[in-house]
């Protein structure tokens, strides 16, 4: 480090929906992630701090928090790329109720996943022949482009339409619905298209593209939602959806 700082000051949100930021001084190290910093505070400075993590290596999505105003995976965010003048501000993810400190209640996020019919509906039994799905078919390419979502909630936290419209199902739920719409094996598309065509569905999206900007998996929910808009409009015009 060119500036000989040895300490980082960190403001962490303490409390629930009401609360305040509290400052802590943490040793600055090379190759330090934001999760390292939060963990240091909890283990050495204040054991009452609540936060979530699991894998520490960017595959589970549990450690997502708001870092200097932006939603990120804290285990994959190096302090050196985000600290401003030796300072960090860390809060819980936006758009979700705060349970305590840095941990949010993600129930609404997962309930909307169900409301968007983001679950596979089987069409065959074990006695039927297996569907041959070509990986280079356009539908499968579309599904594969959106399939790597690990439900971390960052897109949901980044989305202003989620903030403004409590009914909006959100980018992750709609993105998953899109992958299933493109799954040739799925039998639930009539109900799924109706679900995402209702108020709060895909048409509420204004294409701000914050979801795409912040998704750590480089997914593009805006594009998935655009696909849903096309499908639902076509289905509506054919009389398959009542609205």
């Amino acid at each position: 480090m060119s500036d000989a700082r040895s300490e980082l000051t960190v403001s962490l949100w303490r409390g629930a929906q009401q609360g305040r930021y509290e400052r802590y001084n943490v040793p600055l190290r090379e190759n330090q992630t934001v999760l390292d910093v939060v963990t240091f505070v909890q283990r050495h400075l204040d054991p009452t701090l609540s936060y979530r993590f699991a894998c520490r290596v960017g595959v589970c999505g549990s450690c997502a928090m708001t870092v200097n105003g932006r939603p990120r995976w804290t285990c994959r965010t190096h302090v050196s790329t985000v600290a401003k003048a030796g300072h960090l501000e860390i809060g819980p993810l936006e758009n979700l109720p705060v349970i305590k400190d840095l941990a949010t209640d993600m129930r609404a996020f997962f309930e909307k996943w169900q409301q968007a019919k983001g679950a596979f509906v089987p069409s065959k039994t074990r006695h039927d022949a297996i569907d041959a799905i070509r990986p280079d078919s356009p539908a499968r390419i579309a599904a594969d482009a959106a399939i790597e979502c690990i439900n971390c909630g960052i897109c949901y936290a980044a989305c202003d339409t989620v903030r403004w419209n409590p009914d909006y199902l959100g980018p992750a739920a709609l993105n998953r619905a899109w992958t299933l719409v493109n799954d040739a094996r799925d039998a639930g598309n009539a109900a799924r298209l109706a679900a995402v065509a209702a108020a709060g569905g895909c048409h509420a999206c204004h294409s701000h593209q914050s979801c795409q900007e912040y998704c750590p998996q480089a997914l593009n929910p805006t594009a998935s939602i655009a696909g849903l808009k096309r499908r639902t409009a076509a289905a509506y015009l054919r009389g398959e959806i009542k609205a």
């Binding site: 339409t161 569905g201 048409h203 509506y236 959806i241």
Partner: protein, 108 residues
């Protein structure tokens, strides 16, 4: 916004793309010529083309603006869905009435 409102809003938007171009051209022409009311009305009175173009423009704009404002109301104001829908119909009707009246004023 649901699929029905979406389809109406996007369809009227697409319909208005050429109409806006026509309108901006008309504005440029009228300002360049420094037209008086008499000049304008001489061109519009009795014109079927004018009536058709601007009549369509008014209808499309009334629907499009009403749905657009409804979206803003549901997201940025405390109004609920029902109040917003009521507003949409009222605002759209007002625009339609005033707009068709204006078209009639210059065409008839």
């Amino acid at each position: 916004m649901n699929v029905r409102l979406y389809v109406w809003q996007r369809a009227t938007a697409a319909l208005m793309l050429p109409l806006v171009l026509v309108h901006v051209t008309v504005i440029f022409y009228a300002t360049r010529r420094g037209m008086t009311a008499a000049d304008i009305l001489a061109r519009t009175r009795g014109s079927i083309v004018w009536a058709a173009l601007y009549g369509t423009f008014v209808i499309a704009a009334a629907i499009h603006a009403a749905i657009g404002v409804r979206n803003v109301l549901t997201e940025w104001s405390p109004l609920g869905e029902r109040a917003a829908s009521l507003f949409t119909v009222a605002f759209g009707a007002a625009l339609l009435l005033l707009g068709l009246r204006a078209v009639a004023a210059v065409v008839l």
